[in-house]
Every structure is written in C-alpha cells, then in structure tokens.
C-alpha cells in the first residue's frame, strides 16, 4: 500500500516559488495500479519522484505499507522500490544479465542467486534467457529494452513499483502488446504501482485508479469509469475527451454485459418450437448452434412458421461473433462494422455462450447517469 499525506514540493527559482505538488493526498491499495495523469508540468512526475525521493519533498509524508518513509535511509528505501523510467535507462556498459542483477547485487545477493533470478525474469518477460542474458542493451529493440527495464525493476521483488511513462517511447503497436503483457503479469504479481502517463487511453487501460493532476493539484482521484463518466471539472472533461463515454466501453468485458442465458436452438429444432422459445425469452432472434455448440446462424421473429419445417430451412447467416473475453469497445465496433444490432458471443473454443445487443450496451453505459439524476 502507498499512502501520500499532504505531500508538497515547492521549487525555489530566482524569481519566484513554484508549487509543483500541492498537498497531495491519496491512497493506493496493495495490488492496484494508480495512474497519475495530466498535461506536462502538472506535477504528476514530481509526485512520483517524491516517493523514492529522487525529488525531496518540501513537506508531507509518504507511507509504504503503513510505514513512514521519511526517516528511512534513502538508499535503502530506493532498493525496496522498483523504478522504471521512460528512457528505460538500461546501463549500456552492462549486459542484460548484469543490468537485471543490479539491485539484487546492491542488496548483497550472491551471484548465483541473482543470475538465476535474472533468467527467471527474462522468461517471464517473454525473452529467451539463453539469447538475451549475455547481450548488451544496444543489441536489443526498443520494446525488448523496455521489457528488460521492467524485469530489472522487478528483480528484487519489491512490493512497490514506480513507473514514469514506461511505455511512452515505444511505437503504438508494440506499446499495446507490452501493456497487455504487463497487465497479465501484474495479475500474478499484485504489485502496488504508481504509473505516470499523459495518455488517457493508457490510463483507462492500465489503471485501477486514476489520479488527475493540474497545476500541482490532485483534481480527481477515482476509478477509470468514474473519471470518464463523471469528470469532476470541465478541464477534466476536456482532458478525457469528448468521446469519453465511448472510452468507457473499453472498461467492460463482453462477458459482463451479454445476456448469458439467451436460449439457442439446433438445426433440427422445429421452427414453431423455436419461435415459442423466442417469445418466451422476449427476443426478436434466436441463435442456431451446431452439434459442437458453435453458432451457425439465426432465425428471427419474422420467420414464417405457418408452413412448418425445421430451423435449418429458415436459418440466416450470422454476420459476426465476438469473444466473451473481448471488451465492449471491440464488440460495438464489430456491430457498426457489420451493420447489426446484436452479436453472438463465443468462448475461447468458439462455442456459443450468449448474445449482446446494442440496447443492453446503451443501457449499461447510461445507468450511472440515471443513478446520478435520481440522487
């Protein structure tokens, strides 16, 4: 857990005093990623750097796991905190192995243990240890270097990590990949992380909490969904963008929004029976699945049942399916792409698990505003 109490930094310039961080209070629970977000010069980086005292606080306290760090020896404090910077900062004179071993060596681990840990971490970062351990940083691509940067910060297994725009210098495609990998890793590692970013999309993706800074003040500290749905100030609304409600789509998984209990028919189901199921469930369509459970097509409520027959005779092609693990942003995009109002949702093996329709999505996004109106 990281707790900031009235944390303040005042820089004295010859002409005036600049308050870079003004009485910042926040608490980040263990295992959470808190993204410090804001335009440049807003104080987010200063706040981050006060935690490991690269910047000395003017006043206020930083508590890590309940312990006040003010009186801790600086060097000792820093060795307990993983630190990743935008420029990566791998030492070019050291091999990848030596780089990852820096903090373990500072902590006095013996070389064998440190080496073993380095190999283990590279493995974790999807970098082959036999290939990479003996290489020098200049022999790696930007994305690989940043992975090593994260591995190095994790080397001594610190409970707390500070990440200063860690993926800022990587091209967008690699950035998305490395973000995904990092989130997956974080699920197992459960580190408490402060993460500086100026990119709202990254913040929404990475953060369990978002802290928005402006001119040295912490303006809003909330979950990504609340920041997007209820920006506390006009400037935050501007900052998170006019399409902020669409960004919220990225926060919800299809599995959370879909109608999981939606019935389905097989190709051999009698059409009259299928229509009865449809009426009973109250939907205008019914997915027809193969014997393996995969969606094959659908019939809709307008299908003619007077002439009888089986579902296979009236079955229409399903335009698109969406994995239940995808987020709503991808799902809605697929709806627009195929000009449909609902999608069949499938699991990893491609089996039908439910349906997602546009009305549900709209309703889900709107709920939070309705609650606000009532209150």
């Amino acid at each position: 857990m990281i707790k900031l109490e009235q944390l303040t930094k005042v820089f004295n310039t010859p002409t005036r005093q600049v308050v870079a961080a003004d009485r910042i209070n926040m608490e980040v629970a263990t295992g959470e990623i808190c993204v410090l977000l804001g335009p440049s010069g807003c104080g987010k980086t200063t706040t981050l750097k006060m935690v490991n005292r690269i910047v000395t606080p003017t006043s206020g306290k930083v508590l890590i796991d309940g312990q006040d760090t003010t009186d801790m020896p600086t060097v000792e404090l820093r060795r307990k905190i993983g630190y990743v910077i935008q420029q990566v900062g791998l030492f070019p004179n050291m091999t990848i192995e030596e780089n990852v071993c820096v903090v373990p060596r500072l902590l006095g681990w013996d070389m064998t243990r440190a080496r073993k840990r380095a190999a283990e971490l590279l493995e974790m970062m999807a970098l082959d240890p036999t290939t990479f351990l003996k290489r020098y940083p200049k022999e790696l691509s930007g994305g690989q270097q940043q992975r090593v940067g994260v591995a190095r910060a994790l080397a001594a297994d610190p409970p707390v990590m500070l990440m200063d725009e860690p993926f800022g210098a990587i091209d967008p495609i690699n950035r998305a990949t490395i973000q995904d990998e990092f989130l997956k890793l974080q699920k197992q590692l459960q580190k408490t992380i402060l993460f500086v970013s100026h990119d709202i999309d990254e913040a929404v993706k990475m953060g369990s909490k978002i802290a928005i800074f402006s001119a040295g003040k912490l303006e809003q500290f909330d979950t990504p969904d609340n920041v997007l749905a209820h920006p506390a100030q006009p400037f935050i609304a501007d900052f998170v963008g006019a399409d902020r409600t669409l960004k919220r789509l990225g926060l919800i998984r299809v599995a959370e929004a879909m109608a999981a209990g939606a019935p389905s028919a097989s190709a051999d189901t009698d059409i009259a029976r299928a229509k009865a199921m449809m009426r009973e469930y109250g939907a205008g369509y019914l997915v027809v699945t193969s014997p393996g459970g995969k969606p094959e097509g659908f019939i809709h409520s307008g299908s003619d049942e007077s002439s009888g027959g089986l579902c296979r005779d009236r079955c229409m092609r399903i335009a698109a399916c969406v994995p239940a693990t995808a987020d709503l942003r991808a799902a809605v995009s697929k709806m627009f792409e195929n000009n449909v109002e609902w999608l069949a949702c499938v699991d990893e093996e491609g089996r039908y698990v439910g349906t997602l329709d546009q009305r549900t999505v709209t309703h889900l996004l709107g709920m939070t505003y309705a609650a606000q109106l009532k209150a």
């Binding site: 820093r78 060795r79 030492f91 004179n93 500070l162």
Partner: protein, 245 residues
C-alpha cells in the same frame, strides 16, 4: 557494431600503419642505419630506457592525478569550482612547454625532478578535460536510473559513470601520453636525460646522424605508446559502450 564495419576500421588502421612504416623505411634508406646503430646503439638503448622512465613516471602521475581531479571537477556539487578549475588548466595549457620547463627548473633545480614535474603539467590537461567531458557526457537518465535503484554516489560512479565515460577518458589519456613521449626530449635541456640528449647534441654538433639517432626512436616510441593505449582501450572499454567493437 557490424563485423563489416569493424573489419573496415581495422583495414584503415593497417593501411595507415603500413604507410607510416614505409616512410620510415624510405628515411632509413637515405641513412647509414647500420652505421648509426654501430656508433650510437649503446646510447640509444640506454637513453630509450631513460626516456621511457621519464614518460612512464610523469604520465603515470598525470593519470593518477588527472582522472581523480576530473572526477571531482565533474561533480554537481562543485559545478562553480569546476569552471574556475578548467579555466586555470586552460590558461596553463597556453604556456609553452619550454617555459614550463624553465619555470620548473627555476623552482626545482636541474635533473629528473623538474623534468617529471614539467612533463606531468603538460600531460595533465587532456586527461582532466576528457575525464570531465566523458563524465558529463553520461546521459542524465542513466544517473537517475542508478540513483532510483538505490546506488550510493560511489557505486554510481564506479558501476555507471566511469564505465560509460571510459572511452572518452582513455582517448584523453592516449592523446596525453603521445604528447608526453614527444615532449620528453625537451627534458634534456634541464638535465633530465632521455633521447633529447642525442637530438640536441646532434643539432649542436651539426651531426644529422646523431640527431636522427635520437629523433627516430622518439617518433617510434610515440607511435608505439599511442597504439598500445588504443589497444588497451579496445579491450578495457566494455563492449556495450565501445564504438570499436
């Protein structure tokens, strides 16, 4: 660096060396080299030893003092002092070597001592300057990364700053030692010995062979020292920050 590039730079070095040796060989053909060796061989052997001793002592002292001085002057906490220090060294560098020799003789008398002192003074500047330049050239974010990981200032200096500045520092050492070896002959003028004995006596007696018996080994020594230091740099500078590897 790519192997092809490495090969090319090696090729260039070899060609330059071959050209240099060729010129020396042509010079030697004009001379009665074996006669020179017969007459002055004993002197050359003795004086080369003296020459090298002077160069090693003064150069060693210059490295031993110049690098630490450069480290101190590159620290953030003495930023103001470092400007003044560099100014002082720069002004010192504009004083002709002969003048320094004369000054050190008037202070320390004649013999080895004043010679070593003067040579030390001449050699110091490139070493200090390159040490400062090398250390200041280390990317600030590397220093921040090191601090952020919990290195003490000394650990940061040894593990990060010096290895990353080493290439530039050694380039300074290389220049300084080449200058040093080439300047040692002047030490003869204040009784310091060295190959200058043959050179200046040869000039005074209008004896070109004698003069060349001192000059050629001096040139040879300068080239050898320069090459040795570059070889040391090649192996000493870690591969990750060595543009030659």
């Amino acid at each position: 660096m790519l192997p092809a590039l490495k090969l090319r730079s090696l090729g260039v070095t070899l060609i330059l060396w071959a050209a240099g040796l060729g010129v020396l060989w042509l010079l030697a053909r004009q001379l009665d080299l074996s006669g020179m060796l017969r007459t002055y061989g004993g002197d050359i052997a003795h004086l080369v030893k003296q020459h090298l001793a002077l160069a090693a002592l003064s150069g060693g002292l210059a490295i031993a003092t110049g690098v630490p001085l450069g480290i101190v002057l590159s620290r953030q906490s003495v930023a103001r002092l470092s400007e003044a220090g560099m100014q002082f060294l720069n002004i010192g560098a504009t004083i002709p070597t002969l003048a320094i020799l004369a000054l050190s003789m008037s202070w320390l008398g004649i013999g080895t001592q004043p010679a070593v002192f003067a040579l030390w003074a001449v050699t110091l500047l490139p070493i200090v300057r390159n040490t400062i330049a090398g250390l200041r050239g280390v990317e600030p974010y590397l220093i921040e990364a090191g601090r952020g990981m919990g290195m003490t200032p000394l650990q940061l200096l040894i593990q990060v700053e010096l290895p990353n500045a080493l290439y530039v520092i050694l380039a300074g050492v290389r220049t300084a030692l080449a200058i040093n070896v080439g300047t040692v002959p002047l030490a003869f003028l204040i009784g310091g010995g060295g190959l200058g004995e043959l050179i200046f006596t040869g000039i005074d007696l209008n004896e070109p062979t004698m003069m060349l018996a001192g000059a050629l080994p001096t040139a040879g020594l300068a080239v050898i020292v320069d090459f040795s230091v570059s070889l040391i740099a090649y192996y000493l500078v870690p591969r990750g920050v060595n543009p030659q590897r």
